[in-house]
């Protein structure tokens, strides 16, 4: 097969060879349980970094049954992704078009950081959605580099946040939903068969 991309419209030269591979059910549920713990619990994560093998054993996971480097890398990726509200503020701040009326930052002796922004107008663009607001305040503080914050936002932004909380754009379908639908379908079929 040529290394050149094929014409993708009408002149398909050769069909692609399908990459047929599935995921597999994770055999030891303690591993994803522990991953969730590491993502949510900072002290558990610190303990894991300090001594991965021992930490895994404490959770009932034999380190030799696991690719520890892969596990560590994924934990880091997921923790980065699951950072608190300040990562959103930071992210928004990177992509914001705004007219600020005041801004303040303060670095404290205890390695914490405080900030306050006031906007007259702002437009956020993020993942294909946009948010606009005419007036807003943001205040927050970080402690020992672990961030937390408070944002005071107009109602429409708050509604967006609530929507994300209750209807997050979760990737993929939950397998339990597929099973439930299949059960319902088979029930419907058997009901139809009843004279």
């Amino acid at each position: 097969m040529s290394d050149q991309p094929i014409d993708k419209v009408l002149r398909v030269v050769k069909p692609f060879v399908p990459i047929k591979q599935g995921i597999r059910p994770y055999p030891n549920q303690k591993v994803p349980d522990y991953m969730l713990k590491l993502v949510k619990d900072d002290s558990a994560y610190q303990a894991f970094i300090a001594n991965p093998a021992e930490s895994l054993k404490r959770e009932g996971i034999q380190p030799e049954t696991l690719d520890v480097d892969m596990f560590f890398d994924l934990a880091k990726v997921l923790r980065d992704r699951s950072k608190g509200i300040d990562s959103i503020i930071d992210k928004i701040a990177e992509s914001v078009s705004k007219k600020e009326t005041s801004e303040g930052r303060q670095y404290n002796f205890d390695h914490s950081r405080s900030w306050a922004y006031r906007y007259e107008s702002a437009i956020f663009h993020e993942r294909g959605t946009s948010e606009e607001k005419s007036k807003s305040e943001m205040v927050g503080t970080t402690n020992k580099f672990e961030q937390s914050g408070i944002s005071i936002r107009p109602e429409e932004i708050l509604r967006h946040e609530i929507n994300l909380l209750f209807f997050p754009a979760q990737p993929l379908v939950t397998p339990s939903l597929v099973n439930k639908i299949k059960e319902n379908l088979s029930t419907d079929i058997s009901n139809e068969l009843v004279p």
Binding site: G22, I23, R24, P32
Partner: protein
Amino acid sequence: MIKSICFLTTYQCNAQCDYCECSPYQKDKLTGAEMVRLIDEAKSLGTVGLVVFSGGEPTLLKEDLLWAIQHASSKGLLTRVVTNGWWGESREAARTYLDRLIDAGLYEINISVDDLHQEWIELSRVKNAFLACYERQFKCLLAHKQTKSSIITKRHLEEYFGVQLIEYNPNKHYSPEDECRLISTGVVIPVTRNEESADWNDLIFTSWTQSCSSVLNDIVVGANGNFLPCCGIITKNVPELTRADLKATRLIDAIEDANNDLILNWIALEGPASIAQFVKEKNPSIKFREQYVGICHICNEILTRNDVRKVLLEHVNEIIDRISLHRAFMEKARSDEKLMAMYCRT
């Protein structure tokens, strides 16, 4: 959660835009009976509330389109037609056709309008179609794509239509006076037809390194009956994204099959940029662009380059464990609303 099903009702279109696979010469189309059956299957999923009829140009299906709208509407589902507005030859013709759609039970309409479409469809037709909606206060959104040098911009349309348009925000609720004059502007994604001739200096770039929130959230049915588990922008020649024949397979079985596919999980959980990174690690001689227009753009590239696919075929086994663990984590974390809110927006 699957909230909508979108039919690419036909790949035939009276336009032949750059970066789209549809054309007047493509004859694939779904029949009314096929759409009706799949609407019933989608309804039985229990989560679907919206049926979208897109294409190609769905209005070329004539009576079959009206039948399918009528059927979906009778099942309590909302319906949307995505059209290029060619039927607005005159204001009267636009009113007549729109009335037929509304009578069939259509809930809302999207009209494509941008420099690419208007090489083929006169803008005056779009104006007539839009104003027919506007005067009836019928829900209408102008689906608009833009590059840096686009002539057809929101302002251009406002001046030509004589109507002030409102930028669509999916999180806002609009009054009846406003929801008939919405515009949603996206970027042009240079994939498929004439992608090689795209002017890179003219394109608008968005973020492209995240995971894809479309895979298995959008259910798209191709004009030849294939199951497409994502938004459908990418070429239909990619076997991972153009899957089961729904003429022979139940929708729920196709969903389950896709739901367990490694490549789709990888795209959904870690994103196509992560796949590109993996390929680069395995074969450093493979080069990628420094920047992509968006997630679909890089996804199209990794899944249509033979050198990339070759590396994936050779090494895909090495990633099964990680993606399986990530998926298992996802299922554990899914009920944690706060965590998922953060997880899904990065």
